[in-house]
Structures are given as C-alpha cells and as structure tokens.
C-alpha cells in the first residue's frame, strides 16, 4: 500500500513538473517574442500547431523527433551514472560519416538491400559507440572529465566530416559544396507515405533501452552506480567497466541516429549537416535529456515535444520572420527553470 502511494505521489509530482515545464516554456518564449515586438498569440499558435496542421508538418516533426530521440539517449544513459556526455553531436556525426564511407566503398559490389541496410546501420552503431567509448576510457583510465573529452571529440568529428566530404574519393565532383556522392539505391531506406522507415528502428531502440534498463543486470548496475557508487562497488560492480559500457551505449544510439539520417533522409554526407541540423540535434538532445532528468523512459515523449517546438520555430522564422534563436535561447532558460524547480521541490524524483 505504501508502495502504491509512493508511486501515486511520484506520478503526481512528475505531472506537476512537466506541466510547469510546458507552461514555463510557452511563458518564456512569449516574453521574448513580446519584448521584440511580435504578435504573441500568433507566434504561440504557429509554434504549437505547425506540426499538426498539415501532413507535411507532421512528417517533418517525426523526421526531427527520430534523430533527437537518439541524441537524447546519448546524453541520458551516461547521465544515469552522473556523467555528462556532451558528445552526442560528435558521435552522431562520426556514426553517420562512417556509414557513408562504408556505404560508398561497398556500393560497387551491388549487395542487396537486405544485406546493405542492416550492415550500414551496424557500422553507425559501432563507430558511434567506439567514438563515445574513447571518452569513457579516458575517464576510467586517466580520470579525464568527460565534459572536456567529449567536447574535444565533437570538434574532431566535425573536421572528420569535412575531410570525408571534401576528399577526392568520396566527394561528388558535380557539387559546389563539400558533399559526397549519393549512396546506392540498395543502401537507402524508404518511407511509409511521408513517414521515414527509420521510425521502426526508433521504436525498436525505445523498447531495447527499456528492456536493458529495467530487465537486465547491466541496467541494474548502471542504475546502482548512479544512485550510490560506494554501495555498488561494495556489491562488486566494476565502476570503470560501467562507465565505459554506459558511454558505449549512449554513443551507439547516437551513431545509429546519425546512420539513419544518412540512409533515410540525406542519402549522402553533406558537410553543412554537421553545423545546421546535426548540431541542433546535439544541443537539443542535451536539453531534452535535462528536462526529463536523465529518465530514459520519459525520453520518447519529451523528444517528440521538443521536435514540435523545433518545427514550430522554423515556421516562426518563415512566416513571421521571428529569429529561430529566440526559441533556442528560450529553451536554455526553460531548462534552467525546470532544473531549479526539480532541485527545489522535487527531491528524489527520478
């Protein structure tokens, strides 16, 4: 009975926090919009309804929500053991780039789609995972703060994207910008109507993350280390190993996200992707994860809501000439408020 009441109050306080978060989000954005002299009601309506007014808006939202989901996981899983993986961006770029490298290299072999697509996704998963593992390793072995190492790796990955997109082997000679050749048809993933097929992998990832975290020993170890390091070490959990595994899983998910972007959305590596939408997913992945306080189970919904705001922000810029930066900087303010509320009134809420 006590257990049941505990759950009830947990759900209630979470509802209050998320409710407050949404109200705050809209409030802060409204203030910025009003200060700059735009029509607040129209801006809010555009921001919230663009995703649902047309099938184009909805499919855009789903297209953004999928990579955002993976970027959010990339931060969330290491955050469960209190480490900051700022490298979701870099891991996504590295996973995506390696996918294109392998895809273009194997392209001439003419392998069927059923072999190519899973293989390339695996390349994305593994390379993203290994790229993050590097940061986990530097922490476990040399005690280097992952905030620093993942940020440095981000910039390294960015240069790597640039290197591949401009290299003579992969570059498309007909393009003025650094863009690689297009992947062969058998490497690409299709669409259900306007919804990208990558949604299947997003759903699978959501289920697998749930199962790992709730039903396996590994998930238990990660949760235990996050709650109480000393106790978990006494229990025999290897801290260094847990760090590295958590970073690997986070990076692997980011890498998968990058891979899906390449196979399902772009079909090639575009250098500009790194600085525009790619960077956006990296940043908003962190913010989304902070909103849900590192609770992996709440990630899908939060990522979708964040994606609604992102699509709305693009539309604000297009239709009302409101700079997108307003929405971005409001997000940072909102997350700060949510963290304060949680710190202050939500002790023990996970």
């Amino acid at each position: 009975m006590a257990q049941k009441n505990k759950y009830k109050s947990l759900i209630l306080s979470n509802l209050i926090i998320y409710g407050a978060a949404i109200i705050l989000a809209l409030g802060v954005i409204s203030i910025f919009v009003a200060v700059l002299g735009y029509n607040v009601l129209e801006a809010l309506r555009t921001l919230l309804t663009t995703s649902f007014k047309s099938s184009f808006g909805f499919s855009e939202t789903v297209k953004k929500a999928i990579p955002l989901l993976f970027a959010t996981y990339a931060f969330t899983i290491p955050f469960m053991i209190k480490f900051f993986n700022i490298g979701g961006w870099g891991q996504m770029l590295f996973g995506g780039t390696m996918t294109v490298v392998v895809g273009l290299t194997l392209g001439p072999l003419g392998l069927p789609s059923i072999v190519m697509v899973p293989l390339l996704l695996l390349v994305g998963i593994i390379s993203g995972g290994l790229f993050a593992l590097l940061a986990g390793f530097l922490k476990a072995k040399y005690d280097i703060n992952p905030i620093i190492s993942t940020i440095m790796l981000n910039f390294t990955a960015y240069q790597f994207v640039n290197f591949i997109a401009t290299s003579n082997i992969f570059r498309d000679p007909n393009e003025g910008h650094p863009i690689t050749r297009r992947l062969s048809e058998s490497s690409l993933m299709g669409f259900f109507g306007e919804i990208p097929a990558s949604i299947i992998l997003a759903v699978i990832a959501i289920i697998i993350v749930y199962l790992i975290m709730k039903k396996t020993r590994l998930g238990f170890e990660i949760t235990a280390v996050g709650h109480n390091l000393t106790a978990s070490e006494t229990y025999g959990i290897n801290f260094s190993k847990t760090i590295m595994v958590a970073f690997f899983i986070g990076g692997a998910l980011a890498g998968l996200g990058g891979s899906l972007e390449m196979l399902n959305i772009h079909g090639k590596l575009i250098e500009g992707f790194a600085k525009t939408s790619g960077a956006q997913y990296g940043v908003f992945g962190i913010l989304t994860s902070l909103v849900v306080a590192g609770n992996p189970l709440a990630v899908p919904l939060a990522a979708f809501f964040m994606s609604v705001l992102l699509v709305g922000a693009d539309s604000l810029q297009r239709t009302m000439q409101i700079p997108v930066e307003i929405v971005f900087l409001s997000q940072a303010v909102i997350v700060m408020f949510i963290v304060i509320i949680r710190e202050r009134y939500g002790k023990g809420i996970k």
Partner: protein, 304 residues
C-alpha cells in the same frame, strides 16, 4: 628572425584569448565554482562587445560591454547555483546554449543583413621604444593594449592568490568551504565576486576575438576556444602563472597548425584543424599526475 618574431607575435594574440578565458575560469574555480559556460560567455561577449564598439566607435566601450556581458552570465551562474544549489555543470551547459543563441540574436537585431560587414574601430597598440627593436622579444611586446591587459591580469591574479591574505582565504574556500566558513570567511560573497570577476575576464577574451582579431562578427566565432580554456585551467592546476603557459602552448599549436595548413598540401588541412582539440586530450593524459584540483570545485556548499 623576422619570421620568428612575427610568428610569436601572432601566437601572443591567441595566447591572450586562451589565457584570459582560462584565467576567468580558474578564478571562480578557486572558490569552488566550476564555470563551464566559457564558450557561451565568449560568444555573447564577442557579439555584444563588437556591437558596442561598432556603434560607439570606441574600442574601450566595446571591451567594457564584453566584460559586462560576461559579468551578467557570471551573475546568473552564481546566483542560481548559490540560491538553489543546482548542479554547476548543468547550469554551465544551459548558459553555453543561451550564449550561442544570444550572440546571433543580438547581432541580427542590431545589424541585420548588410552587403558589407561592419568593421570595429582599431584597438590601440603599445610600442615600447628600444625594446621593440630587439628581434623575438618584439613579438611579445609589439602588441595591442589587450595583450598587456592579459600580462597584467596574470600578474595581479598570481599576486592576489599567493601573496595576499584575502587571496589565501579565497583559495581556502576552494579547498574546504566549511573550514573557511568556520573561520569567518563569507563563502557565498566570495563565490559571487570570483564568479562575476572571472566571467567578465572571459567576456574580455570574447570581445577581443571580434574587436581586435577579426574586427568583424561572424557566427560561432570562438570555435571551441571557450571549451579549450577549461582544459587549460585544469592543465594549469588552477594557477594563473601556469595558465599563461598553457595558453601559450595551445596558441602555439593553433597558429602552427594554421601555418602548416598553408604550407603542406600532402596532409589534408582538416587534420591540422583537429590538432588543437586532440592536443588538449593528449596533454591532459600526459600531465595528469601533475594536475591538482581545488578539492571543492564543482560542489555546492551550504551550511547544514
């Protein structure tokens, strides 16, 4: 000789950026506030400082605006942390995102899109007679006033932390805030002061990028230097006299990589651009045994 002198001269320009930024980080770090928002502060100050300098026509007002913008960020960081005990790293990350959004936003609002980019007024140079004729040494001293400001800031903060009683007390807060509190030091007030002063120094570093180095604004101008400054502060074991050495090393790598990029066509230039970031990690691995941290850095303190 002339080549070495001019090489050192451009290294010193970037040394100023790195050193000021890491100095700002280590000053607040000494009281236990780990400021990871450097990148966001530099971006916001680069934009605000440039706009102020451009609109007023005065380099000084530009740097003042940059410093004030930095102080504003420092105030948010320390206020939210001290009042609500929110994790400093989370706050720092939020402020980085806030700063990068703010920098583009205010530039767009004030300047908008123009055919030719506006140019900042000149920053005065100080040429010391006679000494400036000596090769190599000339590279260190034939510089604008902000480079001298950096020399001064390093010397003053070294003197403050190691030669004054208040400095010793301030370092004590970083090591053990409870003990400092017991002997009557106002921990919270020191943290406010250190974070605000430190952040405004980071703001000067940001303003220096736009007002003096590029003389114009472009998005994402600090390009990760605010993050590398964290690495330098750690490498320097939070000591001002070592921060300038760290700043020099990374500036050297950056300028050197840039020169190589022009000279060499065998190795793709992207690898030279990666070099500064990879060196941060390599240097931290090599020097990890010599790195000391203020014991309380990053941790909240409340009387309980």
């Amino acid at each position: 000789m002339a080549f070495i002198t001019s090489f050192i001269s451009s290294v010193m320009v970037y040394t100023t950026v790195y050193t000021l930024a890491s100095l700002g980080i280590l000053i607040s770090g000494r009281t236990g506030v780990f400021n990871v928002a450097g990148e966001g502060i530099m971006l916001a100050s680069a934009s605000a400082g440039f706009l102020a300098a451009f609109l007023s026509g005065s380099w000084f007002i530009g740097f003042l605006a940059g410093a004030l913008m930095g102080a504003f960020f420092g105030l948010i960081l320390v206020f939210v942390h001290e009042t609500f005990k929110v994790n400093q790293f989370i706050l720092g990350i939020c402020l980085v995102i806030f700063g990068s959004g703010l920098s583009d936003l205010i530039y767009k609002l004030v300047v908008g899109v123009r055919l030719s980019a506006p140019i900042a007024p000149d920053t005065p140079e100080i040429i010391i007679p006679l000494l400036s004729k000596i090769p190599v040494l000339a590279g260190f001293i034939n510089q604008d006033i902000i480079v001298y400001f950096m020399y001064g800031a390093v010397i003053i903060s070294w003197w403050f932390f190691y030669k004054t009683k208040i400095g010793l007390e301030t370092r004590a807060i970083g090591e053990n805030p409870k003990a400092a509190d017991v002997v009557g030091i106002n921990v919270s007030r020191r943290r406010y002061l250190a974070t605000i002063i430190g952040s405004s120094i980071i703001g000067v570093a940001g303003a220096y990028l736009t007002i003096s180095i590029t003389k114009t604004y472009s998005p994402d101008i600090s390009a990760g230097r605010g993050f590398m400054a964290i690495g330098i502060a750690i490498f320097a074991s939070w000591k001002p006299q070592r921060a300038i050495i760290g700043g020099f090393i990374f500036a050297f790598i950056e300028v050197f990589a840039f020169q190589l990029q022009i000279l060499s066509d065998k190795i793709p230039y992207q690898f030279f651009l990666m070099l500064p970031f990879i060196s941060v990690l390599v240097i931290m691995v090599i020097y990890r045994k010599h790195i000391e941290f203020p014991a309380s850095v990053g941790k909240p303190y409340s009387r309980e």
